[in-house]
């Protein structure tokens, strides 16, 4: 028994007490079928070969681990390295997962693909792989997000996907997930649902983590090559938590590396106007899994607030809940204001316009770098690029095109 090793989920899909499969009965068979297919294919050489080939030739992996010289000088301590997921095809880490899941869809003979999206990056990544395989694609997106991420909406349409604007509830990511689940319940026989984060019912949190772990695996190797050591800390933003989980996962048993997830603090965690369930939530069930959740004392899910559409979600992946409780990862929050400041700073200092989601991870460096001396190596997961956010930021800055 290797009891000290992180080895989750268990056979029922739980990460400690979190996770599970809490869905309407109609979906149970589909989840079992998916789990069986995944377990059958994940270690097959031909599957791995195809996955890594696509990541290399279509996505452009491995993504560089890049020394951020001016950002490092800005803090005057440690060395800051950037894991450049923003350089992936379609502009974010989301493509890693969709490349893997579309292969599963193909093996399962599904001809129709659905997905939810918040910032639109997962929608674009899904539309991209669906187009590549010539599969029908439907993307569910909250009406508010359709508004603030119009560029990505148009990209999805160019890629041949149909974008469904979801008006119900708070008209954001959570409602897009509700609607995608309703579509799946209706069309379960011919439809594959590509969930975009480490959320949802088992086996999704495991599958999405595994596909996205390519990021962390590369970082392990690149750290050895570039500074001949393991990093002192890895910082990643957390909405549902897929980019963080992907980079954290290979490091969970490398205890010298601090793992830090940065949630969307919105107006400030103390105001209640945020999207930071790990900082200010309690365990609850949403979208098929038990995990930290923003809810009131009647078990109703609270509306969230964040400048970043991709982090604007009241739940979080169940494995993050386990890592929070075990103390293996630290979860903090930064405000919209701090994220926007970092967005501008990183653009000017590094020539990299980060996604607003990613800007949350950068913003936490203001606090974190004080913990380290000049010998430390700190990695920021640049989960995506900020082109999609230009309109949002311009509007906040009072600029009209």
């Amino acid at each position: 028994m290797t009891t000290n090793k992180h080895n989750w989920p268990d056979k029922d899909g739980f990460f400690g007490e979190y996770g599970g499969k809490f869905v309407p009965e109609t979906l149970m068979h589909a989840l079992e079928e998916l789990e069986k297919t995944y377990n059958n294919f994940k270690d097959k050489p031909e599957f791995k070969e195809q996955f890594y080939k696509d990541l290399s030739e279509f996505v452009g992996r491995p993504s560089p681990l890049y020394f951020a010289e001016r950002l490092t000088n800005h803090y005057g301590t440690g060395s800051i390295w950037l894991k450049r997921e923003d350089l992936n095809h379609t502009g974010a880490h989301k493509i890693n997962n969709t490349i893997g899941q579309i292969l599963l869809a193909k093996y399962m003979g599904k001809e129709r693909i659905i997905a939810e999206t918040g910032a639109g990056q997962h929608g674009v990544a899904t539309a991209t792989v669906a187009a590549r395989l010539g599969l029908e694609c439907h993307i569910y997106m909250g009406a508010e997000d359709v508004q603030r991420q119009s560029l990505n909406v148009y990209r999805m349409k160019l890629l041949g996907a149909e974008v469904h604007s979801v008006e119900s509830g708070s008209a954001t990511l959570k409602d897009a997930l509700n609607e995608a689940l309703r579509d799946w319940v209706t069309n379960v026989d011919n439809t594959y649902y590509i969930i975009g984060s480490v959320t949802g019912p088992h086996p999704y949190p495991m599958i999405v983590r595994d596909f996205n772990s390519v990021v962390g695996e590369e970082v392990v190797a690149q750290s050895k090559d570039l500074f001949n050591d393991m990093p002192n800390a890895i910082v990643a933003c957390v909405g549902g938590g897929s980019n963080a989980m992907g980079i954290f996962y290979p490091f969970i048993d490398i205890k010298e590396t601090r793992l830090i997830g940065v949630e969307a603090g919105g107006e400030g965690v103390e105001t209640g106007e945020h999207a930071a369930p790990l900082n200010d939530g309690t365990p609850g069930v949403l979208h098929g899994a038990l995990s930290y959740l923003m809810q009131n004392d009647s078990g109703q899910v609270k509306a969230t607030k964040s400048v970043s559409a991709g982090l604007d979600y009241p739940g979080v992946g169940p494995e993050h809940s386990l890592l929070k409780d075990s103390g293996r990862a630290e979860y903090v929050a930064v405000t919209d204001k701090a994220a926007l400041k970092a967005f501008h700073e990183v653009s000017e200092l590094e020539g990299i316009i980060p996604a607003l989601e990613t800007a949350h991870a950068f913003a936490y460096l203001d606090v974190l770098m004080k913990d380290f001396d000049s010998s430390a190596n700190i990695i920021v997961n640049v989960s995506g690029r900020g082109d999609k956010d230009i309109n949002t930021v311009a509007e906040i800055d009072g600029i009209k095109f």
Binding site: K21, F22, V23, P24, E25, T26, L27, M28, H29, A30, S168, G169, K174, D175, N178, L181, R182, V185, T186, N187, V188, D189, G284, V285, L286, H287, G288, L293, Q295, D297, S298, G299, Q300, V301
Partner: protein
Amino acid sequence: MNRLTKKLTDLKEENKKALVAYLVAGDPDIETTVELIKLLVDSGADIIEIGVPFTDPIAEGPIIQKAHDRALANDVSLKTIYDIVNKFRDLDNETPLVLMGYLNTFLSHKKLIEENQNNAIDSILVVDIPGELNLADYGITNETINTISLISPTTKKDRIQSIAKNSSGFIYYVTLRGVTGASNLDVKEINTNIDEIKKHASVPVLAGFGIKSKEDAKLLADCSDGVIIGSSIVQMIEDDSQTKEFDRIGAYITQIKQAIS
């Protein structure tokens, strides 16, 4: 024997089919919900299923989703459910009441079970918990409240067996792949599946989701122990809640009841 088991046993003995009527607690408001339940019972409903409002009801179609939102706007939730249940029990201590809702609201208000001291609530149906899991393990039922499990057209035989074993009250057969109020009934498939369920189930099997007309109700009652009607009622409640003249809901229920008798 609780009211639900008794009612289903009585109906079976009389060779009658059960009619279950659904509405959402607090839509359009608490007082009206009590009146509506009374109306449904007086018009022929045998069992009342009270929808517990939730912000994210993933199994519901747009009609019932909107009703959940209206109820939430009135601050109705599981915590205030006895405001409705006890008022109704003052008027009627015979008709079985089933609460139907989503796991998170039940998890956050487990006191519901302690508060059910006079057994006003007969049964609980949680939409988003796998049927082979036991609600008692989650602290949301006890020996006096029975639990209703869902079986769907996609449920395979091995699961049918384990779900049937875990069900008291009745088995709720979801008649279609979809959300409540959809319209793609496949009667042949429904027939085959209910026959299969009946091989394993010791409790009655009722059919719901997508039943609108009295013709639908008749077809499905013929191959099951009864039918559940939801979206049609909820739509009429929405349409008529300004005037609060709900006569046509009563007429509709009477019509359905006659069709399945």
